[in-house]
């Protein structure tokens, strides 16, 4: 393309951007809304999976040592535990602390220690955290084989449920994101197609007057890009402000809720939205124009 043609393309893109202002606004808003829904869904799914991951990370194996194990041996056992593959963290709870914890759970007025007359029927305990919840049964099986272990407990039922649930959540999230991705893709391209449709006569006239396909498409490409970019920018700004508000509100009223506050990930999502919006706008109008070029 010659310089003059490139200059023309930019001039024409801006001209048409302003001259069809109603249409421009409508398509920018559609792009913004579609990407807003997409971005919102992405954040929702990512956060729910983050929460799922957090819940999984809370799972621990409670391991009760045999009564005849000395305190020293008990502490030494920790080394063996940490060396097991998949074990992430190990915490020792001496039987005294275990009794205290149990007593606390009945409220301050029930004095179990007194009732026991100085006896403590509870065992020394280890709390073991595993890197991946899926490894818990396996790690538990390994631990159970040690002589020092009297019994262990990790809520088999609960862990199974949790694994099922988080897997389900991951699959559902994926399906939802893919669905919304296609939906926003369709919404953006349809709107842009309709705006081009309103100008189909103009396109064919240009062709009759001797304009090449490239020459006709270039301004549409640029205009589509502008519309996509501006729409995406609006969605990103709204998303940024809204997510900030939601997270702040959540952290203040539900402080224990694990939410993604990692800026890098957010910026990454925003980057994809900007790129995707611009790309869809440009491609959408290019493809829409093609339909009317064949004259």
């Amino acid at each position: 393309m010659k310089i003059s043609a490139i200059r023309y393309s930019f001039r024409d893109a801006f001209r048409s951007f302003w001259r069809h202002f109603g249409i421009t606004v409508a398509s920018i808003t559609t792009v913004a809304i579609s990407l807003l829904i997409l971005g919102f869904t992405l954040l929702l799914v990512l956060n729910s999976q983050y929460i799922a991951g957090f819940m999984e990370s809370q799972v621990e194996i409670n391991l009760f040592l045999r009564e005849d194990i000395s305190r020293q041996d008990a502490r030494a056992f920790e080394n063996k535990l940490t060396r097991i593959e998949g074990v992430e963290l190990v915490e020792f709870i001496p039987k005294e602390d275990a009794l205290k914890l149990m007593e606390d759970s009945y409220g301050k007025d029930v004095d179990i220690t007194k009732a026991l007359g100085g006896n403590n029927p509870l065992p020394d305990t280890y709390r073991v955290k595993v890197v991946d919840v899926e490894l818990v049964p396996q790690v538990a099986a390994t631990i159970e084989k040690y002589d020092e272990v009297e019994s262990l407990r990790y809520g088999q039922d609960f862990v199974n449920r949790l694994i099922n649930f988080t897997n389900w959540l991951r699959n559902a999230g994926l399906v939802v994101i893919v669905g919304i991705l296609f939906a926003s893709l369709f919404l953006i391209t349809t709107t842009i197609r309709l705006t081009v449709f309103a100008r189909k006569k103009e396109i064919s006239i240009m062709k009759y007057v001797g304009a090449t396909n490239l020459f006709i498409r270039a301004p549409f490409f640029l205009e589509g890009m502008m519309i996509g970019l501006i729409g995406a920018l609006i969605s990103v700004v709204i998303l940024y402000l809204a997510y900030g508000t939601v997270v702040n509100y959540a952290l203040s009223s539900v402080p224990f809720m694990p939410l993604i506050t990692d800026k890098t990930l957010l910026y990454q999502i925003f980057g994809y939205l900007l790129l995707g919006g611009t790309f869809l706008g440009a491609m959408g109008s290019m493809i829409a124009v093609r339909k009317y070029l064949n004259v």
Partner: protein, 235 residues
Amino acid sequence: MIQFFNVTKEYDKGVIALEDINLSINKGEFVFLVGPSGAGKSTFNRLIIREELPTQGQLMYEGKSILRMKKREVPYFRRKIGIVFQDFRLLSDRTVYENVAFALEAMAAPVSEVKYKVPQVLEMVGLDHKHDAFPQELSGGEQQRVAIARAIVNNPSLLIADEPTGNLDPDTSLEIMKLLNNINKRGTTIIMATHDKDIVNRMRKRVVVLNKGKIIRDVEKGGYTDEDQCHTLLF
């Protein structure tokens, strides 16, 4: 320059617009295409600019087949032709100036040329005062003259004008005909479909008469009808 060999054009619904046309137009000729409404004049023009493809036959432009032209060659081919469409086909979202400039911009003419030539042709058709108006803000005759200006702005080697004076008063028509005549004298081949008896009879150019898709008469220095043939220069 242009040759029709047994050209037939049948539209979708079995309408035969042109039937077995054989014709040759030489470089520099001025040809009037006349005939009743629906005779096939516009179809004739559409075939030349490859807006439509013939159902049968062969069509040549400067010795090359228009039918076998590659798609991407079509724009370059059309740039050599100036076209005044019967329905004007102005770009409704562009001003008069921009409409005319577009024909130059499309062929990547330098900005300086656009700036120099567009006002010039607008003056030629008497519309220099309307360059900022949009087509919808023009009278019928003004729109028609914008279409003429756009067709001649890039000095085409062939000018196809489909009823270019249908919305013009006799005086303005005469001005436009003088303009076309000058362009023709400078070497541009002109094909003009028209219903204007006066113009045809006055100009004494080649006249091709179409009727129901067939050429029924083709005379040099002809008149609008057979009788008009006899008198010379009534006016």
